[in-house]
């Protein structure tokens, strides 16, 4: 009867043992979180994985409850959202949690990515972990794009029109692709309905890739601010209770900031124009996507010239998707043997410049290309800043990263994490090492 069921090794009462011997969830949780050795020197930039998990769950939860009240038809979508805001009990809260949740989701994911770039978390052996992450980013962008269409405001409609029209840039089959995407001859009811279906589906796909992402992480173990591998148990601490406590605290800080926005500035990150019902006959004065898409929008619009046989429109599309796809190959573009920017003085500078560049691109994306940056200074338009920003972005990844790895003089690495921690921040102890692995 129970002879071939392995006795559970988990602690805990009879019920726990009964479940665990049939499906070892508790043993798994104990191993992967109760005992899992994590480097002892995480800083607060390492909180964002937990924060992102929370945000994903929040988005799914609020999304499901919103979907109970929303109608995905062009004649009723806008009004159904207003009904949620006005008539559904706590509907306004559900809506603002979801819309601002998306914004905070992206704030967190960008911080998480830049953390990875700074500390070399994408390097061997974590390349696949990193690639899963970029996949999650792409899925998030698709989900957010489609979600924004659902309220069927002016920006919903026109943003959808502009971005779906981009696919007509694809040679030969471009127009067929766009018609296929639309399910018609323009963004219309068919488009709205399928976007609703896919917007409901993709978060669960994201969930699946997140699971892969975490499994991959647990195979290699986490990186840490020093970028050197733990040498033994003295360099690590069990995830629980140390990082469960730290993550809980960090999460509370995050949620407090989130709540302040949701309750007191719920439309700060939004576009007022989207409170006007979609009107296919009237284009808004400026079509802008949500802020988290602005850098890509800037890159897209910065390619306003033809390159051989590639026309400007296609060039823009290639550059825009390229800016994300280039992230996939960062583990191979960066040739440095040293992981963390703490020991890479040159790379550190270029990291901050990259960050400023991305902020600049975001700023550019929010303005019409031919508008003057400073009133009265006619020779500097936003498109010019866009050119510079885009050029620098690709220069950083395609040229700088490979070269820096070869020519940068890195600082000597500490011998171990514990040693470095004991020396309270003095990181140049022991002999100078230039390789990731110490013998």
């Amino acid at each position: 009867m129970s002879s071939n069921i392995k006795q559970s090794e988990s602690s805990g009462g009879g019920l726990v043992k009964w479940i665990d011997s049939r499906l070892p969830v508790f043993t798994y949780l104990q191993k992967e979180y109760g005992e899992f050795p994590a480097p002892r020197n995480f800083n607060y930039w390492w909180n964002f994985g937990a924060i992102l998990t929370f945000m994903l769950v929040l988005m799914i939860f609020t999304g499901v409850f919103l979907a109970m009240q929303y109608t995905p038809h062009v004649d009723m979508a806008f009004d159904s959202v207003e009904r949620i805001m006005r008539d559904v009990n706590y509907g306004w809260l559900l809506r603002y949690l979801h819309s601002n949740g998306g914004t905070f989701f992206f704030i967190a994911v960008y911080i998480h990515i830049f953390r990875g770039l700074y500390y070399g978390s994408y390097k061997n052996p974590r390349e696949l972990l990193w690639m899963f992450g970029v996949t999650i980013l792409l899925l998030m962008m698709a989900t957010a794009f489609m979600g924004y269409v659902l309220p069927w405001g002016q920006m919903s409609f026109w943003g959808a029109t502009v971005i779906t029209n981009l696919f007509s840039a694809v040679p030969l089959v471009g127009d067929a692709i766009v018609t296929w995407l639309w399910g018609g001859f323009a963004v219309d009811n068919s488009t709205l309905n399928r976007f609703f279906s896919l917007h409901f589906l993709l978060p669960f796909v994201i969930l699946g890739v997140v699971v892969l992402h975490v499994i991959a992480l647990h195979v290699t173990g986490s990186n840490n601010p020093l970028g050197i591998d733990p040498k033994g148990p003295q360099d690590t601490i069990p995830f629980h209770p140390y990082y469960t406590a730290k993550d809980a605290f960090g999460l509370a800080v995050w949620i407090t900031a989130f709540a302040a926005v949701v309750f007191f500035a719920p439309n700060f990150f939004g576009e007022p124009e989207n409170y006007i019902k979609a009107n296919p006959m009237q284009t808004p004065a400026e079509i802008v996507p949500e802020w988290y898409f602005l850098p890509y929008y800037a890159i897209l619009r910065s390619i306003d010239f033809n390159l051989w046989f590639i026309d400007a429109k296609l060039g823009g599309v290639i550059a825009m998707f390229g800016s994300i796809l280039v992230l996939f190959v960062v583990p191979w573009l960066d040739t440095s043997k040293v992981r963390s920017a703490r020991f890479r003085p040159l790379y550190k500078w270029f990291f901050w410049i990259l960050l400023l560049d991305c902020i600049l691109l975001g700023y550019v994306g929010g303005h019409p290309p031919n508008e003057q940056v400073f009133k009265g200074v006619s020779w500097l338009e936003f498109i010019d800043l866009g050119h510079i920003g885009t050029a620098w972005y690709f220069f950083h990844f395609l040229i700088l990263l490979p070269l820096l790895g070869r020519f940068e003089k890195t600082k000597p690495l500490p011998t171990s994490i514990t040693e470095s921690v004991l020396n309270s921040g003095d990181t140049s102890s022991g002999r100078p090492i230039n390789s990731v692995e110490e013998a």
């Binding site: 939860f61 609020t62 409850f65 109970m68 009240q69 009904r83 006005r86 008539d87 559904v88 009990n89 706590y90 509907g91 809260l93 559900l94 601490i237 069990p238 629980h240 209770p241 140390y242 809980a248």
Partner: protein, 180 residues
């Protein structure tokens, strides 16, 4: 859990436990409070509640005529009863499956207002139209499983356990009632 230094003094341990307990408690309360709006959002929304009452103009209804109105998504039978029907209704036999006096079921004996949903399994009984079968007591007849209702909407024969439900209503004036 990680090893901790053995405390010879009880206080720091119990203070620590108190901290953990308090924090856990506060977090749990916060979680429950956070969950509440989601659950409550599924309750009827304001626009649904606004249609929770219906006003009906009775002036076009002739003596002996029946009309059906919608209320909260369900049909309501309104029958303007004749003198004979009122007299019949006032008789309260002793073997009623759900004993109830007609006077307890109407505000004004001339008007019978009942929810037109069979108390057995929810079908809409026949009998509103003059050509429809009205059952052996000339009230309503449910075709699904054969329940017979009398001219006061009381169950007489068949599987239905209760009389047709009388909704809350009142006369706003002689010819208008407000249901709900």
């Amino acid at each position: 859990m990680a090893d901790h230094v053995n405390d010879t003094d009880e206080k720091p341990e119990s203070r620590r436990d108190f901290l953990y307990l308090t924090t856990g408690g506060v977090a749990a309360v916060g979680g429950a409070l956070a969950l509440w709006p989601f659950i409550y959002s599924m309750n009827p929304s304001a626009d649904v509640l606004a249609l929770a009452s219906t006003e009906v103009d009775l002036s076009p209804v002739e003596v002996g005529q029946s009309i059906t109105v919608m209320w909260r998504g369900k049909p309501v039978f309104i029958r303007r009863r004749t003198e004979d029907e009122i007299k019949l209704a006032s008789e309260t036999p002793s073997d009623l499956p759900d004993p109830q006096k007609d006077s307890d079921r109407v505000v004004n004996p001339e008007w019978l207002v009942v929810v037109g949903v069979c108390t057995h399994l929810g079908c809409v009984p026949l009998g509103q139209g003059s050509t429809e079968p009205r059952g052996e007591w000339n009230g309503w007849f449910c075709p699904c499983h054969g329940s017979h209702y009398d001219i006061s909407g009381r169950i007489r024969k068949g599987p239905a356990p209760d009389n047709l439900m009388v909704p809350e209503y009142k006369f706003l004036d002689e010819s208008t009632i407000k249901i709900g």
